[in-house]
Structures are given as C-alpha cells and as structure tokens.
Amino acid sequence: MHEENVAPARPLRRDRSETLLAYAEALARVAASGGGAQALAAHLAAAIDAAVLVEDAQWRHLAVAGTGERATPPSVRDLLPKDADGDEAVPLATPADSHARAFPIRAGEARLGWISVFPTGSRILEDRAGLIRLTAAQIAVELSRDAGGGRGRRRGFWDRLLARAYEDPLEAKEDAQARGIALAPGYVAVAVEGDGLDETVAAQKNAEIRRVCLDTLGTRTGDVVVVERGGGFFFLVPAPLEVDAANARTAATLIPRGVQRSGLDVKIVGGVGRHAEMLHVAQSVDEAREAMIIARRMFGGGRVMPYDDLGVYPLLHRTGATREDWRAFATRVLDPLRAYDEKHQTELVRTLKLFFDVGQNIKEAAALLNVHRHTVFYRLRQIGEIGRLDLDSPHDQLTVRAALAVDALDG
C-alpha cells in the first residue's frame, strides 16, 4: 500500500479482505442513515482521497463529493470510450487526468449510471477499486429503491418520453395518469447550464441555478418538469397554446437577469426549443440543447437563446441537413416578406436582395431601385419588423443572405 494514497482519516488499512469488509459495514450504515447517493459518494471520496461524481443513465447528477482539492467535469458523458459497457472500470478521456476512471452502476443487466473517480494523487490501486465497486453496488440498491417510489416512477415516465419510447399519445397519457402526472398538450424545452462553473461549488451553484430557473419559468399552465442531465438542466414548460410557448421563450431569455439579480456569480448559457406536442417533446429538448451549444459557440454564452432566433446556425451546426431542410429555412425567412409584398404591392424581397447584391450600399441600392435612399432605409426597417430581423446584426445578415442564396439556387 502506498502511503501517498492514505489520508489521515482513512478508516481501514489492514489486509484487503478486512478493509473491504469494514468498508462494506460502514457503507451499509451510511445507507441506512438515509443519506442517499450523496452520502455514499462522500463516504467513498473520504476513503479513497478522490473527487467522486455519480450520474445516472440519463446523465443526471446524483452526487458530487470530495471536490475540495480535485475538480470534476460537469459530466463524463463525453469522456467515456464509445464502446464503454460491461462491468469493468473504464479510463476517462481527460488529457489532464490519466488516472480518472468511471465504474458502472449496475442492477442485474441494466446499467443505472456511472460512478467516476478523480484521484488526488496517483492511480487508483486495486484495493481502492474494490471500495468503489462496493459503493457502486450500494448506490445501485438506492437507485432501484428510488425507481420503485413515486418520484422514481414519475421520472421514469419523462425518461421514456424523452427517449421517444411512446408512439401513441394515448399510451403516453395513460401511463402518465397511472404515475400521477398531469400532462399538458404541448411543451417548450429550455436547456440551461452554468458556464465555466468552479467544480468545487458546482453542486451548490447548480441548486441555485435550478431555483432561479424554476422561479423565472414558473407558469400558470402547470408544473415545470426538471430534468437534470450532464451537469445542466432541461426544463419542460407546459405550453397548451402558442401564447404560452411565446411566454416560455420570453421567460427563458430572462433567466440570466434572474441569476444576476440573485447575486449568483455564474455565467449562464442556455437554449429554448420550439413548441412541441407532448409526444414530441424530445424534439424540443434536442433543439434546446442545440440552441444552447450555438449560444455558447456563436454568441459567447451569457444568454438563453430561442432556437427560432438562431437563423441559419442550426442548419450549419447540424450534420446531414437536407435540401428540404434548407428550403424550409429559406421559406421561413422569406415568406413573411413575400406575403407582405403580395398583399401591399411592395418590393421588400427585391429591395433586400438588391441591398445585399450591392454590398449593403444604400446609395447604390436606391439607384437600382429608382427610389430615394430614405425609401431604402424605410423598407429595411419594415423588413426588420415584419421578418423580426435586425439587419445591423451580422448574424441576421448571414441568415438573410443564406435564405436568399437558397432561394436563388432553387430557381
């Protein structure tokens, strides 16, 4: 046994079998005291002098412990080898920490989650691996017990819904009813994460973020569903009508202000999916996640952005966008302007096209359109209002130019 791996308060240091036995007894006492996964993780962290992260199969945080000297990533979801399965520990792909390992939490054939350890010193020794396995087994017992309770049963419904396991809305409704869940006809998904969270306080900050989000998203149309995934949150906001969806979007964009007002020193990033019928809420969740990624990468984070406001970026981000996807995008951007032109005999689309064709030169556009340059300004303002675009923004300019290009290429 290497002394550098032994913390002063470490409970057991005799021969291996005695160590395991004593640890198992202590673990059972912790479990019996009702502390749940968090207490078990804390017990393990103290025993092996490592940071410990416990996540369930949907990448929800179940516990974080021992982070005083070691940081944990928000999730190990993207750090696991692609083929990670079975009962063995797997190394995590963290260049800065070659000793980090994830151990499966199993109940029978089912994998209920992962317990990941980030040692303070060198590699995890064999006897320590035994302690981790024992802890994983105890957490599996806890999770299985939870799944049998009301909370677990309700969570099970949302997991199934988000996994697109229901094909028939009636089946989903009946299942929800059986689990005591009142479903709304439609939902809007909101994804939120704290950006660059200091891992030592991540759990506490996340609890605050969750509280602020629920406070901001609180709705008269029903209970907001919270799904924790990979260090962040998804909120499913009930939206029976389009106006509820619009209000959910607006409320979501106000979350960073709420976080700021509450004095939380956290930068928030998030995304809002489109309004989806109950059965297709997973689609809204995917869009929310995508919007969050784009908000972070293209807009520098610090905001919660609706998918609908991202213009061309979702298509550029998505691999395998089809020609139809691009056509639908161009239609979405240009159709309101076309409808206005048709109804009012105006030339908004032509003006827009010419404006970009001449490199956004108002004078040249005015000359080509045979109008005064003030008229071009007026039309551009109209275009902005009707299309809900900010033509001074390079992001919106890109969106419009892409839509015009798709339109032109389609003839």
Binding site: L241, E242, V243, N247, T250, R257, E385
Partner: protein
C-alpha cells in the same frame, strides 16, 4: 409625518396668499361623482381657510353614486396642489378652482370618492411601481351650434389628420384652449387636427398619475367652455357619427427606469385585465360604437410596437428614454380617477404576478382569424356596455381596486343606463323595420 403636515400647512398658506394677491372673489370647490361628472360648490374666497379646515359640507345624498336616499353631510377636503385661478374673468370677479377629496363627517375618507380611490391604488402599487407617470392624448369634436344654441353635429371644418387651415374656427378655438390650459399650469405638448372633420386632439405632457387625472378633469371643462366662447360645441362623446372616427383617450404610462422584464409584466397586466377595466374606461353605451374594427380603434387584447389598432402599443423610445406604454382603448367619457386607478392596478398586478404578454403583434389586428386568436390567447374587448359590466364582475383585481362602494354604485348606475338604452327605440330600427314589417 411632521414634514407632511408642515408641507400641507405651507401649501395652504401659499394658496391663501395667491387668493389675496390675485384678488380672487370666489373659489369653486370641485369634485366628481362616481361617473366622473364634475360637481362644484362656490364659496367666497374669504371662506377658503374654513374649507381647508374641513368646515365646508354638502349633502352626499344628492350626488350620483354617493349615498342616495339618505341625507348625509359630507366634508370637502380641498387639495392645495390643485388650486388654480381661472384664466377668464366674468362679471369682473376673479374666480379660482380647487379640487377636493371627500370625507365622512368624522373625517375618515369616503369610500365612494374617486380621487381618494386613485390615491389608494397608487399607494398600494408603490411596492412595484415607484415612479409611474402618465401622459394623455385627448380627442374631441367641435361642432356648430344651432341658432337656438343647441349643439349640432355639423362642422364647416373639412380638415383631416394634422391639417392646417388658418381660417378654421376650430383651430382658433383649439389655440385658445391650449393657451388657457397653459395659463392654468397644464403643459400642452402638442395640439392638432385629427382624422374626422371637426375633430381635434390635445396632448398633455407627462406628470404624476393623480395630477394627470386632475388635469383631464380640468381639460374637459376648459375645452367646452372655450368652445362655447367661439360659438362651438365641444364633445368628448366617444362616437358622435357612425361614418367618422371616434374620439379616444390614449393614455401613456412611463414606468421609470425599470427592467425590461418588468415592462413586459406590466404589458401583460394590461392585456390580462383589459376586458375587466373596459367598463370603467369605456363607460357609456356609445363607447362601444367606437370600439369596432375601424379607424384604428382597438378591439383585441393585443400589444404591438407599431400596430395602430393594438390595445397596447409600445412605440420606439427616443434616444435613451425608457419606452412608454400606450393604452389605446379608453375614451374621455370615463371618470379620469377611476380610469387611472384600474389601469394602474392592471399594471401593478401584471408586475406582481410576473405575467408575460406573448409576442408583440405586427400588422393590423383587424385581420386576426379566430384560430390565431385562440392559439395566441387573444381576447376580444367587450362589444357592449352590458358585456363590459359582466367582464368587470368577473375581474376581482379590478373590482378590488375600485372598492365595494364604487364598484356597486358604478355597476348599478351603468346597468340602469344600459336598460334605458335597451328599451329605447332607435332611429335605425325605424329606418330598417318600419316599412319592412
């Protein structure tokens, strides 16, 4: 508290000094009934001090919506801040006017006093609205008088929106009105011709909400009086002629330096309570002839940045100024104090409940289909006074703002008015049916 008492005493002394300096002979103690009709009692100027001390009473049983059927003395409590020397002198006697709150004989505020009600609502809203101000656009028609002095609906003015006509008698009257109001300490930010022939608009610069309600009361009186001097009749009737634009009262609210989210909550409060406050803001059967899909009158609970027929418009702000919220449905037949009270309550309730208003609307609301309205939670404003009273009955927030006394007194008066209207046989009916059946 001591400061307030000292301030009040100083304000009274200043008023009494002005009375002396300007040789005021009579002071009109003015107040409104529950319908917003101005009432007044004239007292010799040398009795004003007694009035300040609560010694002027009147029979509350003779005023609409007060305590009809009972003989009860009520006390007038003049507010020195509203004292103004009238800019015209008749019979060589200088006259002043001061607005009053109404109290019970024991000095407690009278629950049926509209002005006191507005003060209470503003105080209650102080938790969420600290610096609210209001500005007004007041529309009215100027018509010719018949040889016998009765008003007609004729006008020689053929002008339209913003038209300029140097020889227009209406324009001369409007200039005189603006001058008189300025002389009374009411700043006019603009005055112009409106859409309808003979229709005009006066715009009042922003001030505190109570002050603005006081000013609206004054404007209604001054406009009518100056029109009379020009041989014209001024009317704030919401829809005098079917084929012409109606006259509205657009109320702008400046909520001060608040978070954008709070502004959205306030807008949502207005939309949420619009059906409930319509009876108060549009209190006559004629009001509902204006609230139709024409002449940019609002008919749906919609907000917009530019749409001229949205109920709430949030026009683009100038420079760094915070945006204003324009409520476009009210008309000037409303009781200014009650109209302001219910609108402030709606704003405050939206903020307290952190409601959201949906997305802003672009275009003309008149083209909204049923399905779109249902999906976007857009409701139609009441189409008649009867519907408006029913909506008021259902809105506990607005009823709470009015208080039980005013709610019941107003409701009773308006139901009676609606019944009279319902029973009356209108010329249109004779035209349509007399020969047909």
């Amino acid at each position: 508290m001591l400061t307030t008492v000292k301030d009040a005493a100083a304000a009274r002394r200043a008023v009494l000094a002005t009375v002396k300096e300007r040789k005021v002979r009579w002071v009109r103690l003015a107040f409104v009934d529950v319908l917003g009709i101005q009432k007044s009692v004239s007292i010799p100027a040398n009795e004003l001090e007694d009035a300040f001390n609560g010694k002027v009473t009147f029979d509350g049983g003779s005023i609409d919506g007060f305590v009809r059927g009972e003989e009860i003395d009520m006390v007038l409590r003049p507010d020195p801040a509203t004292f103004v020397v009238l800019p015209w002198v008749e019979h060589d006697q200088v006259e002043a006017r001061i607005l009053c709150d109404i109290a019970m004989p024991d000095g407690t505020p009278f629950e049926g006093c509209s002005r006191t009600t507005l003060k209470r609502v503003l105080e209650d809203a102080g938790d969420v609205l600290q610096a609210v101000q209001a500005a007004l656009e007041i529309e009215f028609y100027l018509y010719e008088l018949a040889p016998d002095g009765t008003p007609t609906t004729r006008t020689t003015d053929a002008g339209s929106y913003f038209d300029f006509s140097a020889n227009d008698r209406g324009q001369e009257a409007r200039l005189d009105m603006s001058g008189a109001l300025e002389a009374m300490g009411i700043p006019i930010s603009s005055a112009h011709h409106e859409h309808g022939a003979g229709q005009h608009e006066l715009d009042l610069a922003a001030s505190g909400v109570l002050t603005m309600a006081d000013r609206l009361l004054t404007v209604r009186g001054v406009v009518r009086r100056i029109a009379q001097r020009h041989g014209l009749h001024a009317t704030f009737m919401p829809k005098p002629l079917e084929e012409s634009a109606g006259s509205g009262l657009h109320i702008y609210f400046a909520l001060g330096d608040i978070d954008e989210a709070v502004r959205l909550h306030a807008i949502a409060g207005l939309l949420e309570h619009a059906p409930g406050f319509t009876a108060i803001c549009n209190p006559t059967v004629n009001s509902y002839k204006r609230l139709v899909a024409a002449w940019d009158a609002p008919v749906y609970t919609v907000w917009s940045h530019r749409s001229a027929n949205a109920l709430v418009r949030v026009p683009q702000a100038f420079g760094d100024e915070p945006p204003l919220l324009e409520v476009r449905s009210p008309d000037a037949s409303s009781n200014p104090y009650l109209a302001m009270a219910v609108l402030v309550e709606a704003l405050a309730d939206g903020i307290r409940t952190r409601s959201l208003p949906g997305d802003p609307f672009t275009g003309s609301t008149y083209e909204l289909g049923d399905r779109y309205r249902a999906e976007h939670g857009i409701r139609q404003l009441p189409k008649s006074l009867r519907q408006a009273i029913a909506a008021l009955d259902e809105d506990v927030v607005i009823r709470g703002a009015l208080g039980d006394h005013i709610y019941h007194a107003f409701r009773d008066a308006k139901l009676a008015e609606y019944e009279r209207y319902r029973k009356a046989v209108h010329p249109w009916e004779r035209e349509a049916y007399l020969r047909t059946f």
